[in-house]
């Protein structure tokens, strides 16, 4: 099987994607457009592929519980990142709406000494601006902000709500549609509208 190509311009592209992720993390619950930098494998969004190329390397363990082998091959080829099946070892987990085989309660939430040793979840979503609406508050948000999301794994809200009692530990979430991203770090609190 042949892997799809990676970034055309690895240095500048990964810097641009990294900058977008940083902006999105510092302004939670706000949608940021992510240009199309690469096609990636067919079972991943081009945006997820771009994030993978930017954040994954041989030191990060990736949990990708999907029957689709092409994405795993692609991640191994381009990022050199080991694919793990164990939730507690995962630095990043890619979760689409169809992902069923993942046990969210075993994911790494970090320790009180090293809260950063936690899993960052990358949720693939159908779209933003439609579907259920939420009100978000927390650091990086002036008062409150609203967003809506459609076509996302059913457990996502439970994970974000759970963060409240775990701080400083917890799970950071990156929500990715086929053309934009929205981040919900562990400090963001949600309320259904």
């Amino acid at each position: 099987m042949i892997c799809a190509p990676g970034f055309t311009n690895p240095v500048l592209d990964s810097q641009a994607v990294y900058s977008t992720i940083m902006s999105a993390m510092s302004e939670p619950a706000k949608m940021f457009a992510l240009n199309k930098y690469c096609d990636g494998p067919t079972s991943l969004f081009p945006t997820t592929a771009a994030i993978a190329l930017t954040l994954f390397d041989n030191d990060t363990h990736i949990l990708h519980a999907s029957a689709q082998q092409d994405a795993q091959e692609w991640i191994r080829f381009h990022c050199g990142a080991p694919i793990t099946q164990e939730e507690k070892h995962a630095d990043y987990a890619i979760v689409s709406q169809q992902t069923h085989s993942i046990n969210f309660s075993s994911l790494a939430i970090g320790t009180s000494e090293y809260p950063e040793r936690s899993t960052t979840l990358i949720f693939e979503v159908e779209s933003f601006g439609r579907g259920r609406s939420f009100e978000a508050r927390g650091p990086g948000i002036a008062e409150t902000t609203t967003f809506s999301v459609k076509g996302i794994h059913e457990k996502w809200q439970e994970i974000v709500t759970n963060n409240e009692g775990l701080f400083p530990q917890g799970l950071d979430c990156i929500l990715v549609s086929s053309e934009s991203i929205l981040c919900l770090p562990r400090t963001t609190r949600l309320r259904s509208m």
Binding site: I2, C3, P5, G6, F7, T8, P10, F77
Partner: protein
């Protein structure tokens, strides 16, 4: 299991030759190549570092000798994925090596490449080795011990 029309040893040999060939030779070969097939770059040529491991002697502990710059690239030509890994910072060498590797995996072009590219490279490397040997031979010193006559006593 994919059945290949070449052996692993064959590929190892052509990878060795491609990696050791002078960059200009590969560039010239590709420039003059007739009916260039389209190639898709899977991995843009990039330079990184590779750690060299060494052993102080046959039974010694392995240790990290140091790092060398390494260029690599990967291309896809009509379903054949060619890789280029070469010591040094020549991204062009890595890219051309990847292209040649992909072409060599293809039955229709392998023979041509073996004759027009690999054979001259092998010849060139052989000549270079001989030249170096000849240059070194001039300074060869034979150490021998003269008979001291002690055995007779």
């Amino acid at each position: 299991m994919i059945s290949l029309s070449y052996t692993v040893q064959q590929r190892q040999e052509w990878m060795r030759l491609l990696a050791m060939a002078p960059t200009q030779e590969l560039e010239k070969f590709w420039d003059n190549f007739q009916n260039k097939p389209e190639y898709q770059i899977l991995r843009q040529p990039e330079v990184g570092l590779a750690m060299i491991k060494a052993q102080s002697c046959g039974t010694g502990q392995p240790f990290h000798f140091g790092e060398i710059p390494l260029s690599r690239s990967a291309v896809n030509i009509a379903g054949k994925v060619g890789h280029g890994y070469v010591q040094g910072r020549s991204t062009s060498h890595a890219l051309h090596m990847a292209i040649c590797d992909a072409l060599l995996q293809d039955d229709s072009s392998r023979e041509t490449l073996e004759q027009t590219l690999l054979a001259p490279i092998a010849q060139g490397l052989e000549n270079k080795k001989k030249q170096r040997e000849a240059a070194l031979l001039k300074t060869k010193v034979d150490f021998f011990t003269m008979v001291r006559g002690e055995d007779d006593q």
